[in-house]
Symmetry: C2
Subunit: 312 residues, 2 copies
């Protein structure tokens, strides 16, 4: 294992946040590497249609945007290192990263490792993701204008998504395994007041049906195992989101769910580490906010390294 | 003058921040109007090449991105109202807007009126903007790798831009009309330490020369009027930026330069008004951050109107 010289910056993760950070780092003249252990684009690759990213044509597929990001990198002569970072430590004011293949040392680090939505793990879910199965109401709700959808879950996110969808869709089922919602009281009150939201308690999803698009769910009664079908066009799964931050546990301040805490300049609890995109605690998990955060993180690192901010 | 019924939201300005706000407002099911008195795109239209907006091909022209934004709007059946808002007041918990043509009333307002860079107003400047004349080092500095550039100005922004460019360009002239810089001491110290930054005190730009691209400046000595040419490929004009916020003076808290003050959710000092993009006080004036702020402002308004946040 060779030991390369110390570069100024490492970026871990090449989803849209990491790619945007890399674009700004390169254009600022920083010496850096960007690591991605999987395919470039991250969660993007699961998205069917992207219609809410200003400047990108409506109907852009996730893989198409991912290819566009790849061209952004290659156009700037940035080649992601396709290795998984297995451990990290801070020592002597440097960041030490270790992959299966090599050791690396950097002055600073931007974490852009993203998060993954928790899946139901039922038949049909994977095949129909982006074809009626979604994990984000703000992203995809608009496609279900005037249609029937279900939200799966009983927490705050599920309640918020059901309320959001109730303004767009004709009918919203809220399917929850327990006999009552875990969501905050005021959200529950609003849900109960909505005429087009119907709660189905005590049921779990057993299967998502459909060939090219979702056409129904099979629900199972949690007490007696009875099955019942539910006809609909969309299913929003809101049972949680898991940030890819296990590597940083103990090293950085995380919230109870494992999201990295940052200040407004996206600095973490370490003075050498910044975080952007879905891996950090933030109110809006959107592509456009992730891309913006990548830019902010890179320019924050620039300021840290060069001692001055670049303001315009 | 007719009085339309009260809609939920008005957006003033259809640059990238306003357009992004409109995209999110529409997809959230909000009833709104978006006003733009000039051409859609705002400052975008002055930009030659856009290379730092993740997902957009490098070399995209400002007018092309502006056209893409126009298609984003028309695809969602959003038609900007081509009227200039001349006055605004808040009364009875409503926003009252007045144009030459009409009066309008809304529950909330998003301000996305942008800002304009102060111009030198010398021959050649307009014609060569985007062809070597730039107002943003972070945006355009990369095009001048290994070349000779000048920064015009003596304040913090001029100093930061000169330092930024010194890492990219071969040689940076800093041209200032006075005998000393106004920039903060630590910035001046760094400037003096840079071998490839040369300060030309006591001179103003009289003319920008070039046919298809900038090839030189004519400088004029402020004391004796003597002219001298300066060969270079790029000129960064950093003599100030003026937010388009005169309409809101007295109504909202602004900073000394007129930028609108907001909290992290982009709410202004009025509980009914949000601001996004270049018109607000923020450290990074970038397209990608403006687009992100439009989304955040819209979803903040959504929360205000609907009583709950949409978190994913």
């Amino acid at each position: 294992m060779s030991q390369a010289r110390v570069k100024e910056l490492a970026i871990i993760g090449a989803g849209i946040a990491g790619v945007s950070a890399a674009i700004y780092a390169k254009r600022s003249g920083l010496e850096f590497d960007i690591f991605e252990s999987k395919a470039l684009g991250g969660q993007l690759l699961l998205m069917e249609n992207i219609d809410n990213y200003a400047g990108i044509p409506a109907g852009t597929k996730g893989f198409e945007l991912s290819e566009a990001l790849s061209r952004n990198l290659s156009g700037l002569d940035i080649e992601p290192i396709n290795q998984e970072i297995l451990s990290i430590k801070i020592d002597k004011d440097l960041i030490w990263l270790k992959s299966q293949e090599n050791n690396y040392t950097y002055k600073t680090l931007i974490i852009a490792t993203g998060a993954t939505f928790r899946r139901l793990d039922v038949p049909g879910e994977s095949q129909l993701t982006g074809k009626g199965v979604s994990y984000c109401a703000v992203c995809d709700g608009f496609f279900f204008k005037g249609k029937t959808v279900a939200v799966i879950g009983g927490g705050n996110t599920a309640a918020e998504e059901a309320l959001y969808l109730s303004d767009v869709a004709e009918k919203v089922f809220l399917v929850h395994r327990r006999d009552q919602l875990r969501a905050l009281g005021y959200l529950q009150k609003e849900i109960f007041a909505k005429k087009n939201i119907e709660i189905i308690f005590g049921h779990v999803v057993e299967k998502v049906n459909g060939t090219t698009k979702v056409d129904s769910l099979i629900l199972s009664n949690i007490k007696n195992g009875e099955k019942k079908p539910l006809s609909l066009q969309g299913v929003f799964i809101a049972i949680g989101i898991t940030p890819a931050t296990s590597l940083f546990s103990g090293l950085l301040d995380l919230d109870d769910s494992g999201f990295i805490l940052t200040d407004e300049f996206l600095q973490t609890s370490s003075p050498l580490i910044w975080a952007c995109g879905d891996c950090r605690k933030r109110p809006l998990k959107q592509l456009i906010t992730a891309a913006s955060e990548g830019a902010i993180a890179s320019l924050s690192v620039y300021k840290h390294l060069r001692g001055h901010y670049i303001s315009a």
